[in-house]
């Protein structure tokens, strides 16, 4: 029944998916945190930039963001990031695009977390003489992160599935392999779909369970 899988390296393809997810998750967490800091900062220009970025990027279809990274940045402008072979460049561009896109969702999740921290805490920290950066990094963000583990888990799961869009620029991840298989094994289309659907369940279900458990553990009980 599963003999159509012969000759395809399913694990290698899903490994690329995992790498895409991990690198993009790290990138989006860093950039998303910075964006959240901008959105709550006392500087109007930064607030405006954060708001504009989040509203523009999260409302742009991911396919457009990723295809733009490849066709616009690399093919037209010649920006190849860290360089290397075409495969490396495409991978880096996909990580850049996925991180840039996901960061807007991380930012909004984090901002909702910041809103759960009572204003009195920030006021007390200010009264102690801490500056904005210290208030944010020492008092507000640690509590905010603990409140938004579950929403961030949802963002991470969405990101895992969104990596399939990287097939649009030929990154050799799961969806790219699926397209090869559909072309060659068109009589087993439903089985091919099922195998890849199962692969993503295997990737995302443990993430959800683990982070769900973690979110209960670390939540700040108020």
């Amino acid at each position: 029944m599963f003999d159509f899988l012969e000759g395809y390296d399913l694990l290698a393809a899903f490994w690329v998916t995992v790498k895409l997810t991990v690198f993009s998750a790290i990138g989006s967490l860093i950039w998303g945190t910075l964006l959240a800091a901008m959105r709550v900062s006392p500087v109007p220009v930064m607030r405006a930039f954060g708001t504009a970025y989040v509203n523009i990027v999260r409302n742009t279809p991911l396919t457009i963001v990723i295809v733009f990274a490849s066709l616009g940045l690399y093919q037209t402008l010649g920006i190849s990031l860290l360089g290397g072979t075409l495969d490396d460049i495409n991978f880096q561009l996909a990580v850049l695009a996925l991180a840039a896109y996901t960061a807007s969702f991380v930012c909004e999740a984090l901002r909702s977390g910041i809103n759960t921290v009572p204003v009195g805490q920030a006021e007390a920290a200010r009264a102690l003489g801490l500056n904005f950066r210290q208030v944010l990094t020492l008092v507000v963000l640690p509590q905010a992160f603990r409140a938004v583990v579950a929403p961030l888990a949802n963002v991470l799961i969405a990101l895992t599935k969104n990596t399939t869009v990287a097939a649009a620029i030929g990154v050799a991840e799961a969806a790219t392999l699926m397209k090869d298989m559909i072309e060659n094994e068109s009589d087993a289309i439903f089985l091919v779909f099922s195998v890849f659907a199962f692969g993503f369940v295997v990737l995302t279900l443990p993430t959800g369970l683990l982070l769900g458990w973690l979110s209960k553990r670390v939540a700040v009980k108020r």
């Binding site: 066709l71 690399y74 075409l86 097939a167 620029i169 030929g170 397209k179 072309e183 060659n184 068109s186």
Partner: protein, 270 residues
């Protein structure tokens, strides 16, 4: 009173539309043909809703020989991965969509024809003279469509060391090719000729002429329909004998300097 007038009007509209459908449809009057909607030169749906290309011309000719007027043809989009299913489900009667005859496909569908012999080839910049032989490809950056047989052939067969960029559409490859970040776009020469012949690309690209594979395009039909196969083969032969085939080739591929093969011998019989 007002209600009755509305009801009468509704009844009139209803009966009119019923009679309209009654004389308009009937599956036997129409023929459903699967083509590509996105391949210039072969099968293209233009923004104003017309269909043009070599596949379309062949399909029209064959349909005419089968007794269908041009207005009786219902064009259906046939994406590569869907072609076998569309035929076996009966969604379309014919598929004329750059459908290469291969032993694997013949296990699931039958073919008539072939009506065109194409070869996998490279589209390169018009001023590029560095690709003369298959061996030259290994050091190049190629581009093709994700999932396509051409893309898979590159990796498996003739240029395992070449770098391969894959996009969703061939047209996306042209940007990088023009800007010299890619060296060649590879797929069947008939498809490439269609892109090179488009007005917006005229003079920028040329075919390398390498003949990397033989692709015999056939007309896909339901498996085992011998009667239809014979009829289509006869129509194709007539099209070739009459000179309509040559004209269709010239009309659709002419501007690209595409050196087409002569009309292929019809081999798919029973």
């Amino acid at each position: 009173m007002k209600f009755r007038r509305t009801a009468a009007a509704a009844a009139a509209v209803l009966s009119l539309s019923l009679t309209a459908t009654a004389c308009g449809s009937g599956d036997d009057d129409k023929i459903k043909i699967g083509i590509k909607f996105d391949q210039p030169g072969l099968g293209l749906k233009t923004p104003d809703g017309k269909y043009q290309g070599f596949d379309v011309d062949v399909a029209k000719y064959v349909a005419k020989e089968l007794g269908y007027d041009e207005k009786d043809i219902e064009w259906k989009q046939a994406p590569s991965a869907e072609r076998e299913n569309m035929l076996s489900r009966g969604d379309v009667k014919l598929i004329v969509a750059t459908y290469s005859i291969t032993p694997e496909r013949k296990e699931k569908v039958s073919f008539a024809g072939p009506y065109l012999l194409a070869h996998q080839d490279l589209l390169i910049r018009a001023d590029d003279n560095s690709i003369k032989d298959v061996k030259d490809i290994n050091s190049k950056k190629l581009c093709s469509v994700t999932g396509s047989t051409s893309a898979q052939n590159v990796k498996k067969d003739f240029a395992p060391d070449a770098e391969l960029q894959r996009y969703n559409q061939y047209s996306q490859c042209l940007t990088g090719l023009e800007n010299k970040n890619l060296d060649a776009l590879t797929t069947d020469d008939s498809i490439l000729a269609g892109y090179a012949a488009q007005d917006k690309h005229k003079g920028k690209f040329k075919l390398a002429g390498l003949q990397l594979s033989d692709e015999n395009y056939g007309i896909g039909i339901k498996k085992g329909d011998k009667d239809l196969q014979t009829k289509i083969n006869k129509a194709l032969q007539k099209m070739i004998d009459e000179g309509a085939w040559d004209k269709a080739v010239k009309d659709n591929f002419g501007p690209a300097n595409y050196k087409n093969e002569p009309a292929p011998q019809i081999t798919e019989k029973g």
